[in-house]
Amino acid sequence: MTEFLLAVGAFVLATVALGLIRVLRGPADADRMMAPQLLGTGGIAALLLLGAATGMPGAIDVALTLTLLAAFASVAFVKGASEPAEPEPDEGGGG
């Protein structure tokens, strides 16, 4: 079972690596941003498989941390893409 889970982990990692070619090809920034998104999910899956295979303590906690932060980079990208690059005027904001 250990070998099987490790092998699947390596396979998942290899497939998301395939997806990383999208970062290279683009064409739009949104396309490039999807690859880390897929890598994030694949990384979580690989981490869970690794944890189950080796019984390493904390693997699930690390995976949970990754899930919490999975959206971060993409949200930052969307914010950047939705705004002009000039220094902006002050805005009130919510809150």
């Binding site: 889970l5 396979f11 899956a45 899930t67 993409s74």
Partner: protein, 97 residues
């Protein structure tokens, strides 16, 4: 019983891995941003879901099983939101072909 559970793990985890492969291939082969996004969400939702499902019988403590399910639910929430945001950005920045 444990053999049955092991078989369940092997089947579910392998199926999950296939969905990851499908997601990655779709991300590479599909023609435009929105269809690629569609492929991506399959890996996020079903791929990870099946892997989590397959790993459930292998957990030793109930807390670990709960954490696995929470991890999947969080990915659902995050990936759903991010897909919405990316799709909206893609539509705003590039005119439809």
């Amino acid at each position: 019983m444990s053999l049955l559970l092991d078989i369940f793990t092997v089947v579910a985890v392998s199926l999950g891995a296939v969905f990851f492969l499908a997601g990655a291939v779709g991300l590479l082969r599909f023609p435009d941003t929105l269809t690629r996004l569609h492929a991506l969400t399959k890996a996020d939702n079903v791929g990870l879901g099946l892997i989590v499902l397959g790993l459930l019988p292998q957990t030793e403590r109930p807390l670990a099983a709960v954490k696995l399910i929470v991890a999947w639910l969080l990915v659902q929430l995050a990936s759903g939101t991010v897909s919405q945001l990316i799709a909206r950005t893609a539509r705003r920045t590039e005119p439809p072909a």
